[in-house]
Symmetry: C2
Subunit: 322 residues, 2 copies
């Protein structure tokens, strides 16, 4: 029985995942391309096994979770394939459709469930890892409407693992995931950077207060990482940015009206309604029969899975109160 | 000697100003159009005089500060003129060029120095007022490059009053002020509302985390107030929004490139450099000779006035370290 869970890539997310899995009682192994990081992780605890090669890391694993940046994925997938790994694969990459395509192309022989924990910190690296990083965090796990029973079972294995870490599992298709993160993460990064770049004058810096501070906070993130994140999701982000520009262009048109306040009040009303509803109130957990359709509908409506029943016929799911 | 300072409009800012002036030892009077607010302010303390009419409020005042919304200004200016007030006038309205025009049109006989404290809270109304609201806050006071000695003296009177409340006085022309607040306040409101309006799906709400939360925070503000603020600054906000849309359109173009990451890294670099420099480090205070040109240059470079010398020939000014 290959019961070990293996984490490849031991940065903030991978390092936190290694700690969280270990704390939850799972036998874990880990690997990082950097010898320094491997050494750091090895001396941090005797509870996990840090391997010297990918092949060694995946040797007795039943689940391998990739926590490397998107550009590093092809080489890592090739390494796993070369090691003869044949079990379940997941990842924590912030885009899902490009990873799905990459997996289908490089390791079609593997069973794959895409994942994306909505967790982050201002810091990075193994040392910044936190076993509680995923407690209460939304963790997207991808499935397709037409998946078969075996794939659904793999999805439930990952859901059981991740809910066991205290995360809220959001069932979602790769395409819907990528469109949603374009809206709630990549678009805010573009807007923050655009505002910060324009407001770069001495006078503006002095007058800037709360709305500037919060509205531009994420512009402080490393440009190369943000560019990789947005560029990796270009197919979903492009149409979202088109809609944002169209909406701002409408506001621009209203500003030219002789008396723009009433029309602008309506324009601002949409965002106000949406923002004051957030975060949504959560309803009671209820049993949901396991089917791709039911799971996907739950995610689409803003719900999530909190627990997988032992017989895997039902899950406990929470939906927001409408 | 008309030594009383009068505040018209006793909401959050006016009510805080009444308290701050009184705490700093100034004899103050106040007026609000609402009988309930007048009654509330009157029972709050015996240290200030709350008048029943504008005429009564301004009767023995040497400085009148208007703290009413832009749409209420014309009627209040007419009321002050009808009361025969002839002394110094200031205000706290968030746009300065439209107020300057209104004052020139309605009360050309008054000496006027425009003001805008960059202070705010999530709450509003007299009861939410705070005498320490202006401590450390940037307070723009407007002047023109070609003002005469009398007008410069009025500016120094307001600067002395406001630095006495602990505020950092930013000398600025009305036009430069309006362009700067368009960048650091009105544009973040437009962007936040646009993101919130688009990200209004159940799935997006579940996946939303820090970048959504901070990037859309101000979309929770009252749409009518934000619309009045943006609409009142339409002349300055329009060109700023044009530049923002152009910048986003450039990012949109880059997303269509076969390998967009390198170009996007450069695009995100501008905002990153600006945001990581903010807030600027402050240099030591130094004496500055009083002239419109020197004061305006100080404000433009990101500096501010912390104290007006007793002889009014110099001010103490701080400039950011470059």
């Amino acid at each position: 029985m290959r019961s070990r869970t293996c984490v490849i890539g031991l940065g903030l997310i991978g390092g936190s995942l290694l700690r969280a899995l270990s704390a939850a009682g799972h036998p874990v192994s880990g690997y990082d391309a950097s010898p320094d990081v491997r050494s750091l992780a090895r001396t941090a605890s005797a509870k996990w096994r840090i391997a010297e090669t990918i092949a060694e890391a995946v040797a007795d694993a039943g689940i391998v979770i990739l926590a490397v940046p998107l550009p590093a994925l092809p080489a890592v997938l090739d390494g796993i394939a070369a090691a003869g790994y044949r079990e379940l694969l997941s990842d924590v990459t912030s885009v899902k459709e490009p990873v799905r395509e990459l997996v289908a192309e490089r390791v079609p022989q593997l069973r794959y469930v895409g994942g994306h924990p909505m967790a982050g910190k201002e810091t990075s690296g193994f040392a910044a890892g936190d076993p509680d990083l995923f407690t209460g965090c939304a963790w997207a796990l991808t499935l397709e409407p037409d998946i078969g029973p075996g794939q659904l079972d793999d999805w439930l294995s990952m859901a059981a693992l991740v809910t066991g870490l205290g995360a809220r599992v959001v069932p979602v298709s790769p395409g819907e995931h990528d469109a949603a993160v374009a809206l709630i993460s990549h678009l805010p990064h573009l807007a923050a950077s655009g505002i910060a770049a324009l407001a770069d004058t001495g006078l503006a810096a002095t007058l800037a207060a709360g709305s500037y501070r919060d509205g531009t906070r994420v512009a402080g993130s490393r440009p190369d990482l943000v560019a990789a994140m947005c560029g990796g999701n270009a197919a979903a982000l492009g149409p979202v940015l088109d809609r944002f520009i169209a909406r701002l262009t409408e506001a621009r048109r209203l500003l030219d009206k002789p008396d723009p306040v009433q029309a602008l009040t309506r324009w601002f009303g949409d965002g106000h309604r949406a923002r004051t509803r957030w975060p949504p109130h959560q309803g009671p957990a209820s049993e949901l029969p396991v089917s791709a359709e039911e799971l996907l509908r739950t995610g689409r409506d803003g719900g999530w899975v909190t627990e997988v029943a032992a017989d895997r016929r039902t899950v406990l799911a929470v939906r927001p109160l409408s």
